[in-house]
Amino acid sequence: MFTEIATDPGAPTVTIVFEGREIATRAGATVAAALLAAGELHFRDTPVGAERRGPYCLMGVCFDCLVEIDGEPNRQACMATVRDGMRVERQRGAAGIGP
């Protein structure tokens, strides 16, 4: 799994919740980096074949790291920054339209 190559105990951390699991992570990290460092590779299930997917490009072009963030679906985990208390869920299939 992904681990930090050097730890900095003094670095500020925030806590996010992924699928009900609390994950402590570096402030300023992307959601994708936080989940990868917590050993998570399964970010979403595809709309067509319900296949598991995770980050592929980490630069905002592949859209395979889609998650639901604080109730908003189809967010790119690699482009979103963590915030304390952020609730992240897997994107399961296609998102509904409207609230």
């Binding site: 799994m1 992904f2 681990t3 930090e4 190559i5 050097a6 730890t7 900095d8 570096r26 300023g28 990290a29 992307t30 980096a33 990868l36 460092a37 590779l41 399964h42 970010f43 595809t46 067509v48 074949g49 296949e51 598991r52 997917r53 995770g54 980050p55 592929y56 490009c57 980490l58 630069m59 905002g60 072009v61 592949c62 859209f63 395979d64 889609l66 189809n74 482009m79 920054t81």
Partner: protein, 469 residues
Amino acid sequence: MTARPDIAVVGAGPAGMAAAVAAAEAGAHVMVFDEQPGPGGQIYRAIETPGPAGDAVLGADYAAGRGLSRAFRDSGAEYLPGATVWQVSPDREVGVSVDGRARIIKAGAVIVAGGALERPFPIPGWTLPGVMTAGAAQIALKASGLAAADAVFAGTGPLLYLIVDQYLKAGVPVRAVLETTPWSAYLGALPRLPGALLRAGKLRQGLGYIRAIRDAGVPVIRGVSGLAVAGDGRAERVAYTHGGHRHEIAAEHVFVHQGVVPNVNLTRSIGCRHDWDPAQACWRVATDAWGATDVAGIFAAGDGAHVGGAEAARLGGQLAALGALCTIGRIDAAVRNNRGAPIQHALAWELRPRPFLDALYRPAAADRVPAGDDVVVCRCEEVTAGEVRATAALGCLGPNQLKSFCRAGMGPCQGRLCALTVTELLAEATGRPPDAVGDFRRRPPVKPLRLAELAALEPDDTDGGDAGP
């Protein structure tokens, strides 16, 4: 109300930063829209906020980006990080979202410096969690100091060796490097070697990485074909053919790479002319020596226009700035040509090894167009090579008609991860060259835009603006 920019720059990698610096130096009001939280692009990702991986791990070429980012910060160019450009119109209206608010800003000239992306690598299992690009591995290292121990790196191209070298410098063990450079590529590259030898330092640097990797005891297996990743819901093992036999290695992380190609979605959606580049097997926007496209006032620079690396991108950004300054009347053609001459000379020198590198690292046809019918080509809509071939057999001639048959290219990535494969697949299936097959029509918005943002879109609020949605 802000003043309408003379020049809008999309992207803040080496090309975008250099363009902004050069344009601002000439007194132009420059606005730079960058999707990232800080300048640097992907090559100098997180250059201002280094994580645990310092310059000792990332190397001198990475650290060199800091000078440019400082010059950019000091340039007086207006910088908007976290800004997603979802449209540029042929009339130079830039549609951009920052913090969930969409705006349209009209500029005198637009320089598109959106960069490259890694060429699709359609192999069995490339959609499994745990399979990522080598570029993604590098981004995790640069931006977050994250690395995955005992990963397998597979593919071809200079970046593959660079990231493995960085992993080893960071003390992260690497299980194996599987090199897919076809033997024929060495022969094809040989006649182009003399030109490249003029820049022998660059070539030595690459050979140095390979030596360091071997010295570290990492198996480097050359002439690999038939890559395939397998596992139950995630990558567990990678199989390959070498020396006429199938082999298999256990790996939870497989980092694949076979070069980078221009990200053409924005320039395509503006309506700029693009041509097939047979040497790099990709589309590239047609420009003159100043980066001007065939759409008035729209310029393109950097690896998003033509892949040449960071230094070529920096020089190309400067040339595009001169071109744009001339177009908006800030400088005349004589000044542009005068200032541009030494930059063009430096760019030609920088590009000397390119024909050699392009020939050597041109991925094998079998790695660009999957032989197996069950390989996923369009990751978003989960369309396989077999479905594309079957559609071609029905008489489908082009990528746009293909969408109606099987939705390939219609998912959220908007064809970025499948367009090249689809074009080459259809070329193979219909016996026509790629430029005759064509490309997906890329339309705005080139990045997803929430309906609420579109509905709340305000008219151009820049000084003198009148452009509505």
